[in-house]
């Protein structure tokens, strides 16, 4: 099989905010960049981010990056790496200003400066009063940022491979990553893209769950590619459930709704967050609020005929605030619930939202894995940024407003490191043919014809299994069963067949390849979760209700090849300031 080849200096997989921010940096430095995306760039899921991006601009209340750093470390339940967190919080203000210069239509204060709103888990003076740190363009901040970054890439004349699906990474005999095998979705033809560096920026995997705020495309393709290339995934047990997805449907209602003054009530009309987080109430960290809602419902204080959700009240805010600051979620409520939040509360329930875990990287965006004596050996030529990566700045629980920041900071950091790499590695290395053949095999496997199960049936079972066995609250027994169920589902994959054997825009084939990716990530998540015998951040175990720093203040690393778990220490030493030592986490 002779597969056509294109060569670039540098390759980016994924055209969300992380990929586009990196592409912009590289294109502006005159590197020859290719961006591969399975959808047109502005369809990427960054577009759905609502509430804003955190940066200590101090436009509304006094603020500084060090307070932001403290909140992020505390929010991470002390599993975040403090060097990376310091780097991110220090860079935040500059990167937000850069976005503004690039054209992002941020909402504005009377002073003409960027509008900022309060968000969960954010404080002044290391745990003091509520901070106002989240920079917003109404409740469409992700849309505004993604479109602006794409527009600036048009200006920089970045090469886009729109609607190309990445199958698997290609490397050489020494393990250096040299590009990817792709498929042109429109024609079904394979294409090898060779590059001196490859940045994975493929986003999250919320399609693991049945009810999710994530789009249909969020199938963890990059994470699964890394797993199959022998790279472990880090901290996959930490999956964030957003407290306020529309109950039963999953559409996101931004944390900004509570930032603007909204609050949650149970069936008795009680503002129950006062019991769980006496100081900050509805603006506690997401893991705390999600658990609180789950407990309210479990203990019979849920709303509705099935007592299976709680209510988010915005009706006291007045139509001006809702129209001005929350127009997007108001539309969503009207469209999907036939209610106007200006006068009717919104039924909400914790909904699968964000993977804190992912491909392990350092704060330069370089992918690292254990090798010999070192727990963090750089994989040459391979980078990762954004939700698919685990730097780790989010640790066991991400703060709202830190994911847009993460993609900007580490998309740019990776690009800067790539420029250095390109200086020292001027020539393309020959890839290993066996590796290309193996990637091609995965692609061609779906041409097998005959009777078999459908992709859809297996995908539905997988999502149900993850929801049943790896949700907000977890126990040994539930998760051990979960591992068996996921393994049984994985065993069905070889017998799945496609009825659609066409080459032209075959979305059934794409969904089959996505299903394989989800199945790889599901086992990584399930196994990592079952092994961690403590409760930390988003990982809440009924049988181990406390955090156990003595045994578990460490990162999990799951390797697919031998289905094994390994661990590495948390980087507790920041770049320049004092360590924030673990404390009891109270909001």
């Amino acid at each position: 099989m002779n597969i056509p080849v294109r060569r670039f200096d540098t390759l980016i997989l994924g055209a969300g905010g992380g990929g586009l921010r990196a592409a912009l940096q590289l294109a502006r430095a005159d590197a020859h960049v290719a961006v591969v995306s399975k959808v047109f760039p502005t369809r990427s899921h960054t577009v759905a981010a609502q509430g804003g991006v955190n940066a200590a601009l101090a436009n509304v209340t006094p603020d500084n990056w060090h307070w932001h750093m403290y909140d992020t470390v505390k929010g991470s339940d002390y599993l975040g790496d403090q060097d990376a967190i310091e780097y991110m919080c220090r860079a935040a203000a500059h990167l937000v200003y850069e976005l503004e210069h690039a054209g992002v239509p941020f909402s504005r204060l009377e002073s003409g400066r960027i509008y900022q709103r309060p968000f969960g888990g954010q404080s002044r003076e290391f745990g003091g009063a509520q901070a106002t740190r989240t920079c917003a363009a109404a409740d469409r901040t992700g849309h505004a940022i993604l479109h602006t970054l794409y527009q600036q890439n048009i200006r920089a004349r970045t090469n886009f491979f729109d609607e190309y699906f990445a199958i698997d990474l290609i490397h050489d005999d020494e393990g250096a990553v040299l590009g990817v095998l792709t498929m042109d979705i429109a024609t079904g033809e394979p294409l090898v893209i060779e590059a001196k560096t490859t940045l994975i920026a493929t986003g999250g995997c919320g399609q693991l769950y049945r009810t999710t705020t994530n789009a249909h495309i969020n199938t963890g393709d990059g994470m699964a590619m890394a797993l199959r290339a022998g790279i472990p995934l880090q901290d996959m047990e930490f999956f964030q459930f957003h407290p306020t997805g529309i109950a039963g449907k999953g559409m996101l209602i931004t944390e900004g709704a509570r930032g603007e003054g909204g609050y949650l009530v149970n069936k008795d009309g009680e503002r129950f967050m006062e019991r769980y987080a006496p100081n900050v109430k509805d603006l506690a960290s997401r893991d705390v609020v999600s658990r609180a809602i789950s407990i309210e419902v479990r203990e019979g204080r849920g709303c509705g005929p099935n007592a299976d959700h709680v209510m988010l009240k915005l009706d006291h805010l007045g139509s001006d605030i809702v129209a001005k600051r929350l127009p997007g979620i108001r539309d969503t409520c009207k469209t999907f619930m036939h209610l106007d939040p200006v006068d009717t509360p919104i039924p909400v329930f914790p909904t699968a939202h964000y993977a804190m875990g992912g491909i392990p990287t350092d704060r330069f965006g370089r992918v690292v894995m254990p090798s010999g004596d070192s727990p963090e050996e750089v994989v040459p030529g391979l980078y990762a940024a954004g939700e698919c990566a685990c730097v780790s700045v989010h640790g066991a629980n991400r703060l709202g407003g830190n994911s847009l920041l993460d993609i900007l900071v580490f998309g740019r950091a990776a690009a800067n490191d790539i420029l250095g790499f390109l200086k020292n590695n001027r020539y393309h290395r020959p890839p290993n043919q066996t590796c290309i053949d193996k990637a091609y095999e995965r692609f061609a496997r779906w041409e097998k014809q005959g009777d078999g199960e459908s992709v859809q049936a297996v995908r539905a079972d997988l999502k149900k299994a993850m929801e049943d066995h790896c949700g907000v609250f977890r126990t040994e027994k539930i998760m051990q069963e979960g591992i068996d169920v996921i393994k049984a589902i994985r065993a069905r994959l070889p017998d799945v067949r496609l009825q659609d054997q066409s080459k032209v825009f075959n979305t059934a084939r794409i969904e089959a390849l996505e299903l394989e990716n989800l199945a790889d990530i599901a086992i990584a998540t399930m196994r990592s979760a079952e092994a961690r015998q403590e409760s930390r951040g988003a990982h809440s175990r009924i049988d181990y209700p406390d955090r156990d720093d003595a045994h578990w203040m460490k990162h999990s690393l799951y390797t697919l090849e031998d289905d094994s778990l390994d661990y590495k220490p948390v980087r507790t030493k920041p770049m320049s300031v004092e360590t924030f030592p673990p404390k009891k986490r109270v909001y």
Partner: protein, 231 residues
């Protein structure tokens, strides 16, 4: 519920045809996107784009009973049966409901849809008053779904020359931005018989826009600005 869906796969079909589908179980509040996904479970070869499911990514624009719209925010209960689903009119079909949007994107790029400033960059943000920022509301929310341009007769006739309502709305988004400093070059680029003035205010664009935006109004603003600028 009965559906008639446009099918064409250049791999196997000599010409397009309409295929009938029946959806037995219509869930309360069901959107067309979910219905199409159910129909795809019946016949896996049915191809269409979709992603976010809440009207923000702009992937699933199709022609529904003669009107362009987003499948994910169109409740099926409000549609007349048999529901006829076709690809966007006036653009090449790749397969089934999937159209070639490259001409639409090219026109988007042609209006330089990015902020242009010539002043040195300040070390903090450029200032913009809330009133100045308000002028971008109704413009920046465009999701590039293509519903408007592929409903526009002027765009059908001259897709290679006429930017179309979506691109012109984008042009006004930057002309209306107090931070932008490229008014003259933007206006110059829109002069001529096939650019701005190819809009004949038919207003299909505003009628179909799933985000409630009004490209015709934006085009009117550009026309007024151009007039003011030329005298």
């Amino acid at each position: 519920m009965r559906f008639k869906i446009y099918r064409y796969n250049p791999d196997v079909d000599e010409e397009p045809y309409m295929q009938e589908f029946v959806l037995e179980h219509v869930k309360p509040g069901m959107m067309l996107r979910e219905a199409l996904m159910e129909l795809k479970n019946q016949d896996e070869t049915l191809s269409f784009r979709h992603s976010c499911g809440e009207g923000v990514c702009g992937s699933d624009g199709v022609n529904i009973n003669g009107l362009n719209g987003l499948a994910c925010i169109t409740p099926v209960a409000e549609l007349t049966e048999p529901v006829e689903i076709r690809p966007f009119p006036g653009v090449p079909v790749i397969r089934d409901l999937v159209v070639d949007m490259s001409g639409f994107y090219k026109q988007y790029r042609s209006v330089k849809p990015f902020l242009i400033r010539y002043d040195p960059e300040p070390e903090v943000e450029n200032l913009q008053s809330p009133e100045e920022r308000d002028k971008l509301d109704g413009l920046y929310e465009c999701i590039l779904c293509g519903c408007c341009s592929t409903a526009c007769p002027s765009f059908w006739w001259n897709p290679d020359k006429f930017p179309g309502p979506s691109a012109l709305l984008q042009s006004w988004r930057f002309l209306a931005d107090s931070r932008d400093q490229a008014m003259e070059e933007r206006l110059d680029a829109l002069d001529g018989p096939y650019k701005l003035f190819r809009c004949h205010t038919i207003m299909n664009c505003a009628y179909v826009c799933p985000k409630g935006l009004n490209p015709t109004k934006a085009i009117g603003h550009i026309k007024a600005l151009m007039l003011k600028h030329s005298v």
